[in-house]
């Protein structure tokens, strides 16, 4: 693949520009060796977090597997925007079967490789939060408990975006979607429901579980590379803002993602065999308002006379995460 220049706009962040780093520490994505597994020309929206996450994740997996990779994709945005026949943005062997069966299809690919004695080829399954935490959850849990040799990547944009923004089991409290409208006395998604699949994955005792965010692409690449070096069932849950469904500025995708991390709403951690082994401390803690105010899906939270209460409920979730994972360490500045 010929070299394609790639532009980085990382102003106002703590990230050190790639060009200032030693080549060995630069992201794979900034190097000519990147495989462009998810190639340019696909039909994702402006500012799509999922396309960005998938591009980094799959290229990192390609490098870690010596370009011997097969990917299985659940139905969803990533599948639709990348593969309208006769076009396909995928430069790797890629298969889409159904919405709810990507983990099982990947188990089958892995089983076929085992039967054929093919040890070099690695298997990835990927899907959005709907495919992962809802409709494909049974297959995901089955793949986990059998410890099949598959890395499953969930791109979590917190709702069914492909069908037009409906609530999923990963939709956060208070968020507007087209099935949790901002009407009634308790507008948006109810508080206290939904599921945390990274923790459920950990409960299966699988070799590796990690969360990642497009806000920290070095970290994302490193976690994919680490997961690819392990055998058995592995799970990475990547937080990917969706400007369409979150009603956020497409130019602010990375900022929104970063504020989710820095507020404590999306903790970055790693776990092995059911135990948390590492987490990324918050560098500059921000109150959840800074994250929420950039997104139209939380607009009603600020308009509501009971806004303080709603925001306090969301802040309590962030505080629980911060305590649970020890996200705020000594010397951290408060960014309020």
């Amino acid at each position: 693949m010929a070299h394609q220049p790639i532009k980085f706009y990382q102003t106002g962040t703590f990230t050190i520009g790639n060009r200032l780093l030693d080549k060995s520490e630069q992201t794979l994505q900034s190097q000519v060796e990147r495989t462009n597994s998810l190639n340019s020309g696909h039909r994702a929206c402006q500012g799509c977090g999922e396309a960005l996450g998938a591009r980094y994740a799959i290229d990192a997996a390609m490098r870690a597997s010596n370009n011997q990779l097969v990917a299985v994709n659940a139905t969803g945005c990533l599948e639709v925007f990348s593969s309208p026949y006769p076009e396909s943005a995928w430069q790797i062997p890629w298969m889409h079967s159904l919405f709810g069966n990507a983990p099982a299809v990947a188990s089958g690919v892995a089983a076929a490789l085992r039967a054929k004695g093919e040890k070099g080829v690695k298997v990835i399954a990927q899907g959005g939060d709907g495919a992962t935490v809802d409709i494909g959850f049974g297959c995901l849990s089955g793949m986990f408990e059998r410890n099949d040799d598959v890395l499953y990547i969930c791109y979590d944009n917190e709702a069914y975006m492909n069908t037009g923004v409906q609530r999923s089991g990963a939709t956060p409290p208070k968020a507007w979607t087209n099935t949790t409208q901002a009407v009634g006395t308790h507008p948006g998604n109810p508080v206290g429901i939904g599921k945390n699949v990274p923790r459920i994955a950990m409960a299966h005792g699988i070799p590796y579980v990690a969360t990642a965010s497009v806000a920290d692409l070095h970290d994302l690449e490193a976690k994919v590379a680490k997961a690819m070096g392990l055998h058995g069932a592995r799970y990475i849950h990547i937080h990917v803002p969706c400007p369409l469904g979150w009603k956020s500025d497409p130019a602010l995708t990375l900022k929104v993602a970063r504020l989710a991390v820095e507020s404590g709403l999306f903790p970055l951690f790693e776990a092995e065999y059911g135990e948390v082994t590492d987490c990324t401390p918050i560098r500059r803690q921000v109150p959840v308002e800074r994250y929420l105010e950039l997104q139209g899906r939380f607009k009603h939270v600020f308009a509501d006379p009971l806004a303080r209460e709603a925001i306090a409920e969301i802040q309590a979730i962030a505080d629980t995460n911060i305590k649970r994972y020890g996200l705020v360490r000594k010397g951290v500045t408060n960014g309020t």
């Binding site: 889409h96 079967s97 099982a104 990947a106 089958g108 089983a111 076929a112 054929k116």
Partner: protein
């Protein structure tokens, strides 16, 4: 070698001889003995490097095979009834993708009310999913059809269901001529997929097709099935040549030459039908029968040729299109639409209701003399049905039908040959 063996174990034995590479199984009665036996064989190292996955659902079972088959592995599973319907979305997907998976259906009724006994409701629900459906009359044929199924599936790149009646065949001990590994190897070439997930030659499988091309893709699937008719005959003939016995094919005729009345059926009931025909012919009735071996694709032309001089056709079918009647009889009517004959539907054997020879003899006589109401429900207990009508007229909350009817007919027992 001839052996007195249970149907499920016989099938498992030949499936193992077919050298599957990936099997994913979820237990459901009456399929369990097949997958238990295969698990045992894989663990004992009798199936090479075959991977046997215990999965969490039938949907997962077939999904695993979709991945395995796309990776170029020979893939097999078995299911029935609720299990087949639970995997319905994957059944259509495997059909649409043209993945040559072989699946045994141990035919069983579909609830509610839940019922574990035999009829063909399950396979019929999936008849349009793009799978070839072959029906076995007995365990010898079930064994033989599995060997043919892998060859057929892989030649055409099309999945195949081998349907065998639950319990009636799966749990019956019969004398079966089991082939040797060498015989199966001679008949069944190694799997050479038409498309495969390969890092050295990456392709995208299963991408989206819009209105501009979807019709053509579906037409080609239809065309493949029409061409499969010839392949099914040829595969069966090749089997005959090598193994010395006929099994499968499109259909099998029994005393149809010059017959005025022809009975049509799928699966194990054909044995009883042949006995009934022997009795009826002794009594002077001109009766024959057709066993449909390939239900999908439906052998419209071959069927037409056999029945063109008959006066009436009785389709005895173990399924029900609620609100319409027969399912197989619709296919039959299409095949005979230009012929001056009467097609009658006999719904029989639902949920494991026995179909005794005496009932077949009686219904054929009735059909010949007076004709039948459409559809006719064989051996329906009209007293129980009428009692329920009365109850419902008297009282809105008249109770649960599945509870009332057994209350009317007395304690449950399997009555055979009454």
């Amino acid at each position: 070698m001839k052996q007195q063996i249970e149907g499920s174990q016989a099938v498992a034995t030949v499936v193992a001889f077919c050298r599957p590479e990936v099997m994913a199984c979820y237990p459901i009665s009456p399929q369990t003995h097949i997958v238990e036996t295969l698990s045992q064989k894989v663990k004992a190292g009798e199936v090479g490097t075959c991977q046997f996955l215990n999965v969490e659902s039938e949907f997962a079972a077939l999904s695993v095979l979709i991945g395995a088959s796309a990776m170029g592995a020979r893939a097999y599973t078995a299911t029935t009834s609720q299990g087949l319907l639970f995997m319905a979305e994957a059944v259509y997907n495997a059909g649409g993708l043209g993945l040559p998976i072989v699946m045994t259906i141990a035919n069983r009724a579909v609830g509610a009310p839940i019922n574990i006994w035999n009829d063909h409701s399950d396979s019929m629900a999936m008849r349009d999913a793009g799978w070839i459906q072959l029906f076995a009359e007995n365990n010898q044929e079930a064994v033989d059809l599995h060997i043919q199924a892998f060859r057929l599936a892989e030649e055409l790149s099309c999945p195949v269901m081998v349907c065998m009646d639950g319990y009636i065949l799966t749990h019956a001990f019969e004398l079966v001529d089991l082939p040797t590994q060498e015989q199966v190897d001679d008949y069944l070439p190694p799997f050479e997929p038409v498309q495969v997930l390969d890092p050295l030659n990456p392709i995208s499988i299963g991408a989206m097709v819009g209105p501009d091309a979807f019709m053509e893709v579906r037409y080609l699937a239809h065309d493949k099935h029409i061409r499969a008719l010839e392949a099914i005959s040829r595969t069966s003939e090749a089997f005959h040549e090598q193994f010395g016995r006929m099994s499968g094919g499109l259909l099998e005729s029994y005393h149809t030459e010059g017959a005025e009345t022809i009975i049509v059926a799928l699966g194990s009931v054909n044995g009883t039908i042949k006995d009934a025909i022997d009795e009826l012919r002794l009594a002077g009735l001109s009766v024959g029968s057709i066993k449909i071996s390939s239900y999908r694709p439906f052998p419209t032309h071959a069927f037409h040729e056999v029945v063109k001089d008959a006066k009436r056709i009785l389709v005895i079918e173990k399924d029900l299109a609620v609100g319409k009647g027969g399912i197989v009889s619709s296919d039959v009517r299409m095949a005979v639409q230009n012929l001056p004959l009467v097609v009658m539907t006999v719904i029989a054997g639902l949920g494991g209701r026995a179909i005794p020879k005496s009932s077949i003899v009686r219904i054929v006589r009735e059909a010949c003399l007076e004709g039948l109401e459409e559809p006719h429900f064989l051996d329906l207990n009209w007293n129980a049905v009428n009692d329920e009508f009365v109850r419902q007229q008297k009282k809105r909350r008249s109770g649960l039908i599945p509870k009332n009817i057994p209350g009317d007919v007395g304690p449950f027992k399997l009555k055979v040959g009454q």
